[in-house]
């Protein structure tokens, strides 16, 4: 098959399709995932091709979706659950943190929980309340879950398949504003990197910028702009949030001596806190400045007309870079 240019939405759709072809135990469950193909069309065409028994339109109840998916997983299936929007994962929170996360532990490994919970996350799409949340820190804080975020079409294609193949439950975060934003070339014959690894996406020497999901693009733009000003940023796409892949991060920060973390989630108790704490523990003597965090402010997500002020953008990232450099 020849290479093709695809969007993130397409990459995910193709990845889901591939996973369903490869393993008849893979099921898709969620609201509107059938004929509609999901409100973002990520499951477009899958019910038509795999039938209603494998692409399961559900009643409107997130706890019910995740809870029945637990039962399916216990029966040997590999459910891929779609949560329609980040803000609607909370009715399922109990099932996720008390059941999905703990089943393997509780059962001494006898019950596996090979479940993927897909969550379109983050803001920037001009939506109403509850449609732009970034709930990752809460899941990363929960042992038993693994949490990843894709940032581009090619990763979308591979990572969703790898998440489905994982015998552990994976919270799979998809930056919704990237769904149809950029295209990238997919080589289906390539060998992807392992799922739980971070990746240096731009090399640099002055400051390490850590990002994931939607902020990878922001960080790349910031690096571009900084280069124009003679500052060399190294950008790392974390990809995995739990576990964290600290290897590339520490290696980079030991070189640059400075780190800026950026995410859309609230700064307070966000991923940036953990990264800051770990980097400081591990690179104490290499650090020229404290790890700085650029994220969503510690307010509820605001009305969308001012969401660009809430969200980290390249200016705020560069501001943090400058503050780091002038420490």
């Amino acid at each position: 098959m020849s290479n093709q240019k695809i969007t993130l939405a397409k990459g995910l759709n193709m990845g889901l399709r591939k996973a369903m072809e490869d393993d008849p135990k893979v099921l898709i469950m969620g609201e509107d995932v059938g004929k509609l193909g999901g409100v973002f069309r990520i499951t477009d065409g899958l019910q038509k091709d795999f039938g209603e028994d494998r692409v399961i339109d559900s009643p409107l109840a997130e706890s019910g979706i995740v809870g029945t998916a637990v039962g399916m997983a216990l029966r040997g299936y590999r459910p891929v659950v779609e949560i329609q929007f980040d803000g609607f994962v909370y009715p399922a929170y109990d099932q996720i943190v008390c059941q999905v996360a703990k089943m393997h532990y509780r059962s001494k490994g006898r019950n596996k929980m090979p479940m993927v919970i897909r969550i379109p996350f983050g803001g920037g799409i001009g939506a109403v309340e509850h449609h732009s949340e970034s709930p990752e820190a809460q899941f990363a804080h929960t042992p038993g879950l693994k949490v990843v975020a894709c940032s581009n079409p090619v990763d979308g294609y591979w990572m969703i398949q790898q998440a489905i193949a994982s015998d552990d439950p994976v919270i799979f975060l998809e930056p919704k504003r990237q769904y149809h934003a950029d295209k990238a070339e997919l080589d289906e014959s390539a060998t992807p990197e392992p799922l739980f690894t971070s990746r240096v996406v731009r090399q640099g020497t002055d400051v390490t910028v850590l990002a994931y999901g939607p902020t990878v693009k922001t960080a790349m733009k910031a690096a571009e702009a900084a280069a124009g000003e003679g500052k060399s940023l190294e950008v790392i796409d974390l990809r995995t949030l739990s576990p964290l892949d600290m290897g590339p991060v520490l290696e980079s920060v030991r070189r640059t001596g400075r780190a800026v973390v950026t995410h859309e989630a609230h700064v307070n108790l966000g991923m940036g806190s953990e990264l800051s704490a770990r980097i400081t523990e591990e690179c104490f003597y290499s650090l020229e400045a404290p790890v700085l965090r650029v994220g969503g402010f510690d307010t509820p997500y605001p009305a969308s007309r001012i969401e660009e002020d809430f969200l980290p953008d390249l200016d705020r990232v560069l501001d943090a870079v400058d503050r780091s450099l002038s420490f």
């Binding site: 009643p59 409107l60 009715p91 953008d313 390249l314």
Partner: protein
């Protein structure tokens, strides 16, 4: 329902959604047919105690309400198409359900809406311009909930049904239930959709309301769809029967019949005000439009169905009724049309004039008592913004 089944467990519940269901089945309470004929119902009636003139006045009022409500909806839809709103949740086809319910309320009652209750908001005296703000993205709700006893729109499906129940429990504690004083006795109405009926929260609301005999009417607009999920995905028996399992009455009313919806809701509210507890009202209707302006219903439903429901238009039947019985003249209809045009103008002009919020307003109202750390964050961002003042772009680099 077929009548065969396993011994001891009663009839099997298959094929409950046969063709008769599309018309609401025999349990549908109707007082005005799609053809504009008044019909009798053994239990519910419209206009009892009113003179013929008073009654006609009320029906004309409903007509006007519905026309204006529809205009709000079509204007907002158009504004969304023109990029003035981010999204709009259309109510097309649900005008009778909302006006019937909205007009059955007394001032002291309290409403917990979903995101689609534009007609009820209108009945409560909320300036429809305020509704647009939310969909334009200038705020999360611009009206004062306590001014008209009309709560803010709730987007997380079903969450508000618990708030409604708790509010009703508060009314019980305030001694405004079952006193017999019509100025004093109050009730709550909780709006939700057919899809919402599957949420745990909604079912818990039923349990709490029943357990405490709370004065709340659960008003469900069964518009047959939850985005692309048909009602059959949420229940395999008529939805109003859900209430029976919780030990309070449920009824199905023709939600496209404003007279019946008014009569039934009014009676349910009165039950609540009288201290007789909760009632479930299923307003059987149809979502004529898309779920929202970003939805594409052609992917999941047949245009035949839409055509079928067009014949049951809630406004047309009242118009026919008024005209056929000489209860309204041309001047009336022209007057309503003119009012609607004015309203349209108000919305178009007003919407475009809605001011964008100030960036720093993002930090307002997070807490009743602001924290030091939030103040510092706000000040930090203010200083950051000021650092760009004078530069050509908002940011230095973008």
């Amino acid at each position: 329902m077929t009548q065969s089944g396993s011994p001891g467990f009663g009839p099997d519940l298959v094929e409950v959604f046969g063709p008769s269901q599309q018309d609401g089945g025999p349990e549908l309470i109707q007082l005005l047919t799609p053809e504009g004929e008044r019909v009798e119902h053994p239990e519910f009636s419209f206009g009892a105690g009113l003179s013929a003139d008073e009654e006609a006045e009320m029906v004309r009022g409903f007509y006007r309400d519905m026309v204006l409500t529809r205009r709000i909806d079509t204007e907002a839809t158009a504004l969304q198409r023109h990029g003035e709103l981010g999204i709009w949740a259309q109510l097309l086809g649900q005008e009778a359900a909302q006006i019937g319910a909205g007009r059955a309320l007394r001032p002291q009652d309290y409403v917990f809406p979903t995101y689609r209750e534009h007609g009820v908001a209108y009945c409560r005296g909320v300036d429809p311009l305020n509704l647009l703000g939310l969909f334009r993205g200038v705020d999360h709700g611009a009206w004062d909930p306590n001014e008209n006893n009309f709560g803010l729109y709730t987007i997380v499906i079903g969450a508000q049904t618990l708030h409604a129940t708790g509010y009703a429990m508060g009314m019980q504690r305030d001694g405004v239930v079952g006193t017999g004083d019509p100025e004093r006795d109050a009730a709550v109405i909780a709006h939700f959709g057919d899809g919402a009926s599957s949420q745990g929260d909604v079912n818990e609301a039923f349990i709490f309301a029943a357990s405490y005999n709370a004065p709340v009417v659960f008003f469900c607009q069964n518009n047959q769809w939850a985005i692309s999920e048909p009602i059959e995905r949420q229940t395999r028996i008529p939805l109003y029967q859900r209430a029976l399992g919780f030990g309070f009455p449920g009824v199905r009313v023709d939600g496209n019949d404003v007279l019946a919806t008014y009569a039934v809701t009014q009676a349910a509210l009165q039950r609540a005000r009288d201290g007789q507890g909760p009632t479930f009202v299923e307003a059987y209707t149809y979502r004529m439009g898309a779920h929202t302006t970003t939805d594409d219903p052609t992917r999941y439903r047949l245009s035949d169905d839409v055509e079928h429901w067009k014949l049951k238009d809630p406004i047309a039947r009242v118009e026919v009724y008024l005209k056929r019985n000489g209860l309204a003249d041309d001047a009336f209809f022209e007057g309503v049309k003119a009012e609607a045009d004015d309203l349209g103008h108000h919305l178009r002009e007003g919407c475009k004039a809605l001011p964008d919020p100030q960036p720093l307003s993002m930090f307002d109202h997070v807490y009743a008592e602001e924290t030091e750390e939030l103040r510092a964050e706000r000040e930090g961002y203010a200083a950051y913004l000021e650092s760009f003042e004078g530069s050509t772009t908002a940011g230095g680099h973008s």
